[in-house]
Every structure is written in structure tokens, then in C-alpha cells.
């Protein structure tokens, strides 16, 4: 693999026709401070350079992973639903259906660390300590059988990990393998005979049609004659402005929770109608044991219970699956409660 690709910049003609030519600098902007650069420059390179201080072991990683990652990536990094699988798949890359994971595909360990530190968990990026990031990455390595369970990941041990697919990449070779071959502009008799269909379309109609019709069916069945009375009894008054502010706060939640028309269960249960509903009462959602137990006591979601839970979920209900750090600001709490109320009309 060459260190650097031979670039074909075919674009010089296009690019400079209207580009301004400046004789000297304009003196715009200001110098960046060291603290500013340090805050944004999180790059970690394949050779481990620019890794932060800190460390994390596999066992700690298992706990942190269960808390922050398992809702989407599965307890053993095997993936849940359509979310990415992080473990397994070694030696499947030439198969009909390759399984691309950190273990089977990612060439550099630095990429995992860099990505987890910048972007994970989904909906709570850059809220974890460097130690937790080290621990999570150590656990992902363990899930891929790449380290033992007593392994501790740090700057010092980083380069000792061998990634199985580190030699699996070549630099774009289209110039050699394709560009010379794809030049025949045949106009007549380009195929020996009349063409036939070899494959028909797999999804013939609107690709969303299946999903839409089952939803329609569900809503058509749902209303019963008693529904209107129930709705009136259940009606709650709410402050629309505050609820609107709550919609913004809800951005913290919506990676896992859906609300509104057409909402479905995601990594968390659907929240339509949560106000005044018993805990753990959404059909088809797999609640944690403590949440189910809470529901069995008859606990109902209201101002008191919701504000307690959302302020510090894991303290309020030890063992909850909800990987959310908690709402710190009273203002945000009031707004989100109003938003949930508004979605329970």
C-alpha cells in the first residue's frame, strides 16, 4: 500500500475560473488559544499518538458498557435490532454476507477510541470520562476475543493490541482496474441477442407500504366506543408554551424514545400517554426487572414520580435500563414534564 494516493485532480479547469486571487492576508479571525485547540482537537492516530491520560479494564468496561451502550449494541456487543454489531464476524469478509465489526473489520484500534470518545453514547456524546472510554474499548476488545479479561487499556498498552483486519485494506485501485476497461461506447449489436429479465425487483411497491398498512390496521382497530369518554376523563390541562420548550429538551431523549403520531417503541418505550399511566405498561416493550417490579406495585407516572426518575434515573430505580445521566436544570424538568403531559392528551 502506498503511503499516499496518486491524486488525479481533473478539476483544475473548473476550479479556478472564478476563484479570487489575494495578494495578502486580510487579517480576519483571531488566533486560537491553546485551551480552545485542546478542547476540540480530540484526534487519535493509528500509532496511538494524541491519546489522553487514563485507563480502563475489561471488568469495569463491562459495567460501563451495560450502562451506556448495551441498549443498542447488546449486552455482549452483539447488537440489538438494526443497531451496529460490535463483535464477531472474523473471517467472514469474503462471505456472501460479511459481518463487519470492530473485531472483524476495523483496521485500527485508534478509530474505536476516537469514535467512542467523540460521538458515543448516542444522544450523550462527550459526557463520559476518558477512563470510561478506555474501559468501554477494552470491553469491546474482550467481546471480540482480542484481549483477556484481566486486560487494562491505556496509552501504554494500546499498541500491544493486534487488530485482525489491519492488513485488509488497499488504496483505491480504480485507476488501474477500472478506468482503462470502462471505455467502450458500443452503439449497435452490443449484446448477441434480445435481452431477458434475469432478476425482478425485490420490493415491487412503495418500500414503506408494508409498515404503513400495518400501522393503519392497528389504529383502525384501536378506537372503541368507550374511547371518547376515556379520553375526556384522561384529559390533562397543560401549558403549550412550556410544552414547546419541553420539545427541545426532549432532544436528549429522542435517540431512544419516540412520541407523537406514528411513534413506536425504540430502544426505550413509546411515551404517548405516559402521564397518569402505570409504570412498565407499554405492550411489547421489554422492561428491566426493577421497572417491571415498580409497575407491579401500581406506581403511576405523574409529576412526583417522573421528576424523581428523570432527575437521576439510576439512583431512583437501581438497575433501570435507561442510560440517561439525568436532568440537572429545574427549568428543563418543568418543560419536559409539560411536554410529556401534552403528549398524553
Amino acid at each position: 500500500m502506498s503511503k499516499f494516493p496518486k491524486l488525479l485532480i481533473a478539476t483544475a479547469v473548473a476550479s479556478l475560473t472564478a476563484a479570487p486571487v489575494m495578494a495578502e492576508k486580510l487579517g480576519l479571525g483571531r488566533q486560537a488559544t491553546e485551551a480552545e485547540i485542546a478542547a476540540w482537537n480530540l484526534d487519535v492516530f493509528p500509532d496511538g499518538s494524541n491519546l489522553p491520560d487514563g485507563q480502563g479494564d475489561v471488568l469495569t468496561g463491562e459495567e460501563v458498557f451495560a450502562e451506556h451502550c448495551a441498549a443498542c449494541h447488546g449486552d455482549f456487543a452483539e447488537g440489538a435490532g438494526n443497531w451496529p454489531k460490535l463483535a464477531g464476524g472474523v473471517d467472514t469478509l469474503a462471505d456472501e454476507d460479511p459481518l463487519k465489526t470492530v473485531g472483524s473489520y476495523w483496521p485500527y484500534l485508534s478509530t474505536s477510541f476516537d469514535y467512542v470518545r467523540r460521538s458515543m453514547p448516542f444522544g450523550g456524546a462527550q459526557t463520559m470520562s476518558n477512563d470510561d472510554v478506555y474501559a468501554i474499548v477494552a470491553y469491546i476488545l474482550y467481546s471480540n476475543d482480542l484481549v483477556d479479561e484481566d486486560f487494562t487499556l491505556s496509552k501504554e498498552t494500546f499498541m500491544s493490541v493486534e487488530m485482525p483486519n489491519s492488513d485488509g485494506f488497499i488504496v483505491d485501485g480504480r485507476e488501474e482496474t477500472e478506468y482503462g476497461a470502462f471505455t467502450n461506447r458500443c452503439m449497435e449489436g452490443c449484446k448477441p441477442e434480445v435481452v431477458k429479465i434475469t432478476k425482478n425487483v425485490v420490493f415491487p411497491g412503495d418500500p414503506n407500504a408494508g409498515a404503513v398498512s400495518s400501522e393503519t390496521a392497528a389504529t383502525e382497530v384501536a378506537p372503541s366506543e368507550e374511547a371518547p369518554t376515556e379520553a375526556i376523563e384522561a384529559a390533562v390541562t397543560f401549558d403549550a408554551d412550556l410544552a414547546e420548550k419541553g420539545a427541545k429538551v426532549f432532544k436528549k431523549c429522542k435517540a431512544c424514545h419516540k412520541v407523537g403520531e406514528g411513534a413506536k417503541n425504540g430502544a426505550g418505550p413509546i411515551l404517548n400517554g405516559i402521564w397518569g399511566r402505570q409504570a412498565a405498561a407499554v405492550d411489547g416493550f421489554k422492561y428491566s426487572k426493577p421497572m417491571k417490579a415498580l409497575g407491579e406495585t401500581g406506581a403511576v407516572w405523574n409529576e412526583e414520580t417522573l421528576s424523581g426518575y428523570l432527575a437521576n434515573p439510576r439512583k431512583y430505580l437501581k438497575g433501570t435500563k435507561m442510560s440517561f445521566a439525568g436532568l440537572k436544570k429545574e427549568k428543563d424538568m418543568a418543560a419536559i414534564l409539560e411536554f410529556l403531559k401534552a403528549n398524553s392528551q
Binding site: 479570487p20 489575494m22 486580510l26 469474503a94 456472501e96 432478476k199
Partner: protein, 427 residues
């Protein structure tokens, strides 16, 4: 209204019947005789006698309700959720070359964020003479450029590697848009930070990242950055939409859409690539033997017939038919587009609406007299490097079935005698 439209339909049928009866060739026959008077013409209509909306009824105008179907659409089951997801431009229903922002496809890795101009900062650091921070206002004071480019997601047509999957050009080819961008060249900004001390350009890279949670960092050779990249704050004359990176995105002409970082917040010059998630685990092309190509940045020449197509069946019956579509190349300008009606046995050159522009979309038309015959419609683009858009078979011979990304194969629509079109593969 129901009445009049029925009659209108009847008169159209009569026209077609008349045209067929004469058996005349296209061009030699004028409009046929109307069977009856059209009340849309003979009767005074409400819109003619009454008044329409006043100015400012919609301070920012949206398409009229009758065009409500011409919208971006996602395919829900393709991704785990709708935040890290994709939708598709309704290219089947558009014409010309410019994609309106409101229906230009979206691809987010951590959702479309809302970032105010006042809160926007762009940092340039790394191997520059002086690391700098710009505000949005600063950026508007640099000399400005305006140019049109297409942006194609590397995964556009990716579903189709294994077979004919989704039925519509929107879904098979809609991860693309073409806009006129206004902004500042990346060269201008990098030179402001100073390139004097870093040494040779050849082996340097820029790393670009966004302000959203995904960060979506990508490494780009400095040579490309200085050649034609720009940072854009306007598209099609107005501010970027939030879903396209408001207030500032990167423009990387001809290269895969993932590199056009949205909500651009930092540009670092470095002596090697970062090998970020988006340039190793994603956007790399796995070959049949299990090795994978990386740094496959350029989007090769490609085209698709947008109408007729599965979402745009022929409803008007036999006679004059406009076949139209789009063509583009990341390596230069489109020089010609050919269309085949028989699945690639014979080809004829289509008409380009305008001469091709480098790394921007071209619109092509082929006007035919369709007599209800079965068609296997294909289009094939040529660019100014001499490249001819390949068939799916040609691509599979080189890359196998698992490449996912960078599928620029020739697309086939099967049109039956009723004018209905379906996505197929042919021999």
C-alpha cells in the same frame, strides 16, 4: 370538478385514438379533432371569476398542495432509527438540474442540529503558521465564489449491488442533489492561516469535522483541499437548510457526500490521515476476496432515467414520449449520454439540455414515438476523461457483490405495454 376532469380524460383518449387511427409518424400529425367541447374552456371557472391569495399569504412560499407528493422519502427499515438515517430526493418528479433545498436528500449521523450563526466558530489549526478562529461574520468578509456541484452519497444505489431491490429512481438513485453554492474557497481560508512553514503540500492532509455529535471527521489530501474545495454558507441563493449543515458546510466537488462535512467547525492540517470511523469502518468497499478498498473518494460517471420509471409510469398512452434523466461525473464534465430502449443491444445519443459542467449534474432528453412496445430503458453517461458508465456485470467482475458503496452501474427499467415500469436486471 369531477365531471369536467372526466370529460377532459375522454377528450384526451379521443385525441390518442385519433392519432393512432391516422397511423401517421410523429411530427407529421397535428392535434386531432376534439370529440366534444371542454367545459374547462367553455365554462367560466371559479379561479377566473374570483380572486386569488394576496401577497404575503405565505411569506416563504411552499409548493402548491397538488405537488405534495414531491417530497423526500425515507425507507424506514433501512436503518435502526430516523436520527442516524437517510432519505431520498424525489428525482423522479423533478426536472432541470438544480435540486430545491427543501426536497434535497438528508443524511445525518447524529441528527440535524440547530446551530445559530452567533454561536458558530470555525477553527483552523495544525501545521499552519497561525491557528485561527473565525466567526460566521468573518467568513462573509472573505472574497466570495459561487459554483454549482452535485453531492452524491457513496451509498447511493448501494442496495442494488445484490439485485434489483427498490422500485423507483427516488430510492435507487435519490441520495443525490445538485446545488449552486456560495462561499469562500478553502484555499483562501488556509492561506489566511498561513501555509509557509509546513513544507511540501504533496504529503499533507486536512482533517475536517462537524459540530454535531457524530463529528463525522474525514481526512482529505491537502492537494484537493487547495484545488477546488470551498466552505459554503448559501445554496441556491439562500442560507443552507439546517439539514444540510446551516450555517456552514464543506463542499468537496466530485467526491463522496460524506466528506462534505456539515456544521463544519474545525479544519486541521496534518502530515497523515486520522483513519476515522467514516474512512475505515464505513465508506470503504469490500472486494470479493475480502480485502477492502479505502480512500475511494471520487464518484465516477453515472446516470439514471428519472422518467419513465417505476414512480413515473407512462399514463398518456401511445405517441410522443419524453424520456429524461440525470447524469454526473466526479471526474469532470458530462460529454454525452446514450439511451437504450432494448436493454443495451442498441444505443442512441440523447440531447443534453446544456453542455456539461465539471462535477455538476446534466439533464438529458430523448424524444420518441412510443407505440406500446415493451422497453428495457437504460442510460449511459460519458465524461471528459473518456470513461463510459459500466454495466452492473462489469462492476461485479471487478468488485464482487459486497462493495455496497460507489455503485455507478447502468440502471434498467422494464416498461410494459401499459406503460408501467419496474426495476429489473437483464441478461
Amino acid at each position: 370538478m369531477v365531471d369536467s376532469s372526466t370529460k377532459q380524460g375522454a377528450s384526451r383518449r379521443a385525441f390518442l385514438k385519433g392519432a393512432a387511427a391516422t397511423g401517421a409518424a410523429l411530427g407529421s400529425v397535428g392535434a386531432a379533432k376534439a370529440a366534444s367541447d371542454d367545459p374547462l374552456i367553455t365554462e367560466v371557472q371559479d379561479w377566473t371569476s374570483g380572486l386569488g391569495d394576496g401577497v404575503d399569504a405565505t411569506p416563504y412560499g411552499m409548493p402548491i398542495e397538488y405537488e405534495g407528493d414531491v417530497v423526500r422519502r425515507t425507507v424506514e427499515w433501512l436503518t435502526a432509527d430516523q436520527i442516524s438515517s437517510i432519505n431520498f430526493t424525489p428525482i423522479h418528479a423533478l426536472d432541470g438540474t438544480i435540486t430545491p433545498q427543501g426536497c434535497a436528500f438528508e443524511r445525518h449521523h447524529s441528527g440535524a442540529i440547530t446551530l445559530k450563526k452567533e454561536d458558530y466558530r470555525l477553527m483552523i489549526n495544525g501545521l499552519v503558521d497561525t491557528p485561527l478562529v473565525f466567526t460566521y461574520e468573518d467568513l462573509e468578509r472573505f472574497p466570495r465564489v459561487t459554483q454549482t456541484f452535485f453531492l452524491e452519497c457513496a451509498a447511493n444505489t448501494g442496495m442494488e449491488w445484490a439485485g434489483a431491490q427498490l422500485n423507483g429512481s427516488q430510492y435507487t438513485h435519490g441520495m443525490i442533489h445538485n446545488m449552486e453554492y456560495t462561499g469562500v474557497t478553502l484555499r483562501t481560508l488556509l492561506e489566511e492561516a498561513g501555509l509557509g512553514a509546513m513544507g511540501a503540500i504533496k504529503d499533507k492532509w486536512v482533517y475536517v469535522e462537524g459540530a454535531d455529535a457524530s463529528s463525522n471527521g474525514r481526512s482529505i489530501p491537502l492537494e484537493k483541499a487547495l484545488d477546488d474545495c470551498m466552505i459554503a454558507f448559501k445554496a441556491n441563493g439562500e442560507a443552507l437548510r439546517m439539514e444540510h449543515g446551516y450555517p456552514v458546510r464543506l463542499v468537496v466537488p466530485g467526491w463522496e457526500g460524506n466528506m462534505w462535512v456539515k456544521w463544519l467547525r474545525r479544519i486541521e492540517i496534518m502530515d497523515r490521515p486520522v483513519e476515522s470511523r467514516e474512512e475505515t469502518s464505513k465508506y470503504t468497499d469490500t472486494l470479493a476476496d475480502g480485502t477492502s478498498r479505502k480512500w475511494t473518494w471520487v464518484m465516477d460517471a453515472k446516470s439514471v432515467i428519472t422518467s419513465p420509471s417505476p414512480q413515473m409510469p407512462i399514463k398518456h398512452g401511445k405517441g410522443p414520449l419524453v424520456i429524461t434523466g440525470l447524469a454526473w461525473s466526479g471526474r469532470g464534465a458530462i460529454t454525452a449520454v446514450d439511451v437504450s430502449l432494448d436493454g443495451g443491444v442498441t444505443w442512441q445519443e440523447a440531447r443534453l439540455a446544456e453542455p456539461g459542467k465539471p462535477m455538476a449534474m446534466s439533464r438529458f432528453y430523448l424524444d420518441i414515438n412510443w407505440q406500446g412496445e415493451e422497453m428495457f430503458l437504460q442510460s449511459r453517461a460519458m465524461d471528459d476523461t473518456g470513461y463510459v458508465q459500466p454495466t452492473k456485470t462489469q462492476l461485479r467482475e471487478v468488485r464482487g457483490l459486497n462493495s455496497i458503496y460507489h455503485n455507478n452501474c447502468i440502471q434498467t427499467w422494464h416498461v410494459n405495454a401499459n406503460g408501467e415500469a419496474n426495476n429489473v436486471e437483464v441478461s
